[in-house]
């Protein structure tokens, strides 16, 4: 194991390395106060960056496996490629930036930190994200999403930009916000009413919403080299939970 410290970059060839060994090496490197790690030839290794609690930057070349950054607490992961299912699972703090698309259940149960996906995501992105006090997870998706976006969402901010849709084209996702009882979805573009879960209300953005959207779109644009003004020219709608405790009376009598 190469000792590292200060500003040095540790490079690892992950080809054929089992996920447990790879994550053990990452924990070891992080505990040596390295600032940056590059993982090359990553192909399906799971849980990369899991439970790291140091502000280390992990740059991934290849296709990381499921549950990338699960339980991560303050590190930064940059993926040059696509991410698979469960990216950002129960993340507490930190950033995941994916220069590509991502699979299903992105950001599930995240309770803090930021996830930026440049292209499309699969089913159930943002499922059961939650917030408490100043812990507020953020998920920004540049492309479009498949069904059940923001399912059971309990907190946090989800932004869907639809940058790859043509003018006037609706998002295709159905069951958006089904079971949603917290947090907010800012959606650039349009959807039909039937595409929304019954718990979801639609509103125009207010100035305080625009402040949030401008800031996060700015960060998204900086990560992926877009022009933020062009993105912000699009029409946004706000999707919010109509009830914060939809089943509060279920067992009341």
């Amino acid at each position: 194991m190469a000792k590292s410290g200060g500003n040095s970059v540790v490079k690892i060839n992950a080809s054929g390395v089992f996920y447990r060994e790879l994550n053990a090496r990452l924990r070891d490197i992080a505990s040596n106060d390295a600032q940056r790690v590059e993982l090359h030839n990553v192909c399906g290794q799971r849980y990369i960056g899991t439970d790291l609690d140091k502000p280390i930057e992990i740059e991934i070349f290849g296709t990381p496996g499921n549950d990338l950054g699960a339980f991560m607490d303050g590190s930064r992961v940059i993926v040059h490629g696509n991410a698979q299912d469960g990216c950002g699972n129960t993340m507490n703090e930190g950033e995941i930036i994916v220069h590509g698309h991502a699979g299903d259940i992105i950001g599930l149960s995240a309770r803090g930190g930021k996830i930026f996906i440049r292209d499309d995501v699969g089913y159930r992105a943002g499922i059961h994200m939650k917030e408490y006090g100043d812990k507020k997870p953020v998920l920004v998706i540049g492309g479009t999403a498949q069904d059940f976006l923001g399912e059971y969402m309990a907190g946090g901010i989800l932004i869907l930009l639809g940058l790859n849709l043509s003018a006037g084209e609706h998002h295709q996702a159905k069951y958006i916000g089904t079971g949603m009882h917290g947090g907010v979805i800012y959606l650039r573009g349009s959807v039909e009413d039937y595409q929304l879960g019954q718990e979801v209300g639609i509103a125009d953005l207010e100035e305080k919403d625009y402040q949030i959207v401008r800031k996060l779109v700015g960060e998204f644009a900086a990560h992926f080299d877009y022009e933020p003004a062009t993105i912000l020219e699009g029409k946004f709608i706000k999707l919010y939970p109509r009830w914060l405790r939809p089943y509060g009376r279920l067992y009341a009598y």
């Binding site: 996920y19 192909c43 399906g44 799971r46 290849g62 296709t63 990381p64 496996g65 499921n66 490629g81 696509n82 698979q84 299912d85 698309h101 699979g103 299903d104 499309d120 699969g122 089913y123 498949q146 069904d147 059940f148 295709q172 159905k174 069951y175 039937y194």
Partner: protein, 381 residues
């Protein structure tokens, strides 16, 4: 039989989270390739399984016997083998029989005997029955009436190799890198509701249909009872078996297209049907009324294959993953994108289809998205 708990849960955790792995690859020009790539791809998803089942289906496997039914049969005893071989000699014209070659593999313990037979039906069948139906009936007889004998596959120019072990161990045991085909599917198993045994490994097969599956079919009971009315007997103790028989019934016997079959196995929800144009509603309602008992409930991703075709399909709300990759004439289907990238790093395109949307690779045709039901109605008019 291995002790499932020792492998699945050596530390006695309260809960073990895992899932099956499936992979398929096809050269749509028909070029044959070895098992080397798919063995590496399915092994890359090793942690999705637990070593209690692995298997492969290969098409374009026996070009020198392409007109003969190739029966791959597993025997749990010599007596079963003698009984079944007497049955085969009586019911078929036997062209060739041989033990399927294997090599000692430390991980494979207590393997059954696996033999293959190349047979013709000839004058054995009744005049009013098709050869395929005759073979299906004989397979059901072997599986249900003859002792210790189970048919792994019974199609032409194809075969199934499977057993208890990780898929890469099964591949080593049968030496699958030595075989060639234009279409391969593979499965790594994590048995959930049923035992891990050799017959219960995937792919499941009847004639040249094979199915590999990740998920569970909670409608197994009703599907099974419906299929029994058409003479299909479920004997492999695993829910996936019904899918193989369902596609044989729908596509081969009832002559339905894959688009129609997909709308039977994974139909749109009623609320979705009500938003469709009237003619399409009528078709979708008719399908649900006629074939409601073949609706597959529960989470699934499946890869169905038969001669010349590979089909990927998920349940309606995609509760199990599927990634599609295309590179030139090659079509890949996988539980995880990384497994495709391992064997083909530079894809033309990689994406996940919507739940219930079939992805179909056809021999002799470059890959293209399938027509929707709506487009088919417009075409028919």
């Amino acid at each position: 039989m291995k002790d499932i708990r020792q492998i699945n849960n050596p530390y006695n955790d309260d809960k073990v989270i895992d899932a099956c792995s499936i992979f398929g690859m096809m050269d749509t020009t028909g070029g044959r390739f070895s098992g080397e790539a798919i063995i590496r791809a399915i092994a890359n998803m090793h942690v999705r399984g637990n070593g209690l089942g692995g298997g492969f289906a290969i098409y374009g496997l026996y070009p020198e016997y392409a007109d003969l039914y190739a029966l791959h049969i597993m025997y749990l005893s010599r007596q079963g083998q003698q009984e079944t071989e007497a049955f085969l000699r009586d019911r078929f014209y036997l062209v060739l029989d041989e033990e399927v070659p294997t090599r000692p593999t430390p991980a494979i313990v207590n393997p059954p005997l696996v033999w293959r037979y190349f047979v013709r039906v000839d004058q054995h069948k009744p005049a009013n029955q098709s050869e395929d139906d005759y073979v299906v009936n004989r397979v059901m007889e072997i599986n249900t009436r003859l002792s210790d004998s189970f048919v792994f596959s019974s199609g032409k120019d194809m075969g199934v190799f499977k057993g208890v072990g990780y898929p890469e161990e099964i591949a080593e045991y049968f030496g699958l890198e030595e075989y060639e085909g234009y279409l391969w599917t593979a499965h790594g198993r994590f048995p959930t509701n049923t035992p891990g045994w050799w017959g219960g490994a995937h792919p499941f097969s009847i004639l040249d249909w094979t199915v590999v599956h990740n998920g569970e079919i909670s409608s197994y009971g009703i599907n099974r009872r419906y299929l029994e009315q058409f003479g299909y007997q479920c004997t492999m103790q695993t829910d996936t078996e019904v899918i193989a028989y369902a596609v044989d019934l729908l596509i081969r016997k009832h002559n339905l297209s894959i688009e129609i079959a997909a709308n039977i196995l994974a139909p749109p929800f009623w609320a979705e049907i009500e938003r469709r144009p009237p003619e399409e509603q009528k078709l979708l309602r008719t399908l649900r009324q006629t074939y409601g008992s073949l609706l597959l409930n529960g989470p699934f991703t499946i890869i169905i294959a038969h001669r010349g075709e590979m089909i990927g399909l998920t349940d309606r709300i995609r509760l199990r993953p599927l990634t599609v990759g295309v590179k030139g004439d090659m079509l890949y289907l996988s539980s995880e994108e990384s497994a495709i990238r391992l064997v083909c790093p530079e894809l033309d395109r990689a994406w996940s289809p919507m739940g219930g949307e079939p992805i179909v690779g056809i021999l002799g045709q470059p890959f293209e998205p399938r027509r929707t039901i709506r487009e088919m109605i417009v075409d028919a008019n």
